[in-house]
Symmetry: C2
Subunit: 280 residues, 2 copies
């Protein structure tokens, strides 16, 4: 970082953040970095509410642009997932200035929509990893500490282990990637190790997602697929007959995509950092 | 039809068919067409079982090809939806012969995957409409009667009303179209009235599907979008703040796609027939 203290701006382009995140995360940061405590600013928009979302589309897009286009911030950190980034992506991409290119963007799940668009636009500090609200998970401090270690120091120990050796990497929630493919925000995945995770879906939906993803010509140019954790899988009626790893291997084989095993990512506190593109 | 008696072959490329469909559907057909009762043959595969599916992938694909490539059949009728057609589409498309082009294909929901691939391959008798298992719905006879009227006589009264005046039409379950876009089976939708229906999804998922669908360059060439019924919508937490029609209008407006109102299709007995392509 160019500054003694890293300045992190938290925004919520999807669902509303819980209020206590704004006290617990800075307290943890102060404990972890007593001599160079990062300044963590929660945009008031994080606490706004509009139907499903943390404020209406305009409010959320403006908040993102406030921090992304502000030279004072080193990182734009997603408060949480949920749903809503796809409604903003066009407005945000149109509103970003040169300043926005020189900072980090960290999130996962629904945030993948914006991470993809930023990466496609040539941003170099985009990464898939823990968000502020992960502090509410059981033992959530470890996830947030990892996010801070990446945003503050680009600490290699925060990374998914394959990142350092891979030419390029990218990571997505499967359903979010499903909804990116074929849109103007789909990034070029040629030569990337692609990591995929899922949460709260039935096994047949994981199968359907992996059909869709591995049938895509752009995705077929990846150097390989790794499967993150698929958590809170909902009941399949009748039993699907394959687990998520068998499904991923099946579709990789059919598509001629190298299967590279499991990735240490998912909707949990172990979720490691996966930068988009080459590492350093 | 070239024959006095229409011969219809029923296959189940997705989930398993209930056994009593095979007695109730022919009985209804005999009542409706006493002088020219169609011959309705249920492939044994309809009753097979393999995990989630009506038989394994090979069994289901073979069954479809048995009937599609057999000159004796005038129509291939989908037993039901569920999930599974995407696993077969590549094998089926590779196995079809010239004979298969000269018949009708009728189904909806998961079947949309195969309907799309057939239509893309130039098949002219592809339509979105009721399936055999719809007879189990309350007052399901009317849905099956409509399917028979189309397969036997191409009866105009079975059609969604806009079909006769439209240049070209197509209809899909939203989630199925989501998973088609960007695959080799995505049909050219240029100039089509595109009808979309949904079942069993939360409102935020309908919003996300419509983002994805209306952001696609191919879909943006449709002549307009009509919204079928969205039934059994699951709870949205918190309330989404828009209903499905407001959502569809919103995305049409953003994409510059003409909004053409509601379509008389859905996962119900009123589900009207929508041929793929031009009507006659």
């Amino acid at each position: 970082m160019s500054r003694a203290r890293c300045k992190i701006g938290v925004v919520a382009p999807a669902s509303r953040m819980s209020a206590d995140v704004a006290t617990r995360v800075p307290a943890l940061a102060a404990r972890l970095y007593p001599d160079r405590t990062p300044e963590i600013v929660f945009h008031p928009q994080c606490f706004a509410s509009h139907g499903h979302f943390a404020g209406d589309d305009e409010t959320r897009a403006s908040a993102f642009l406030d921090f992304a286009n502000n030279e004072g911030y080193d990182a734009v950190w997603f408060a949480r997932g949920g749903y809503g980034s796809c409604r903003l992506v066009e407005t945000i991409m149109r509103g970003l200035t040169e300043t926005s290119k020189r900072k980090a963007y960290l999130g996962y799940s629904d945030a993948g929509m914006l991470l993809a668009a930023l990466y496609r636009a040539g941003f170099e500090g985009v990464a898939h990893g823990p968000m502020a609200q992960d502090i509410l998970r059981n033992a959530g401090d470890s996830a947030v500490a990892r996010a801070l270690a990446w945003m503050i120091d680009r600490a290699p120990e925060a990374l998914e282990p394959i990142v350092v050796g891979a030419k390029k990497t990218a990571a997505f929630n499967m359903t979010v990637l499903d909804h990116l493919l074929g849109t103007p925000f789909e990034p070029d995945l040629d030569g990337h190790v692609l990591m995929l995770e899922e949460v709260g879906e039935a096994m047949y939906r994981i199968d359907r997602s992996l059909f869709h993803i591995t049938s895509n010509a752009n995705v077929r140019r990846v150097s390989g697929i790794m499967l993150g954790r698929c958590s809170r899988i909902t009941p399949n009626e009748p039993d699907f007959g394959m687990n998520e790893e068998e499904i991923a291997q099946y579709w990789c084989r059919r598509a001629g995509i190298p299967w590279l095993g499991r990735a240490d990512i998912g909707h949990d506190t172990d979720n490691k950092i996966v930068p988009f593109g080459p590492w350093l």
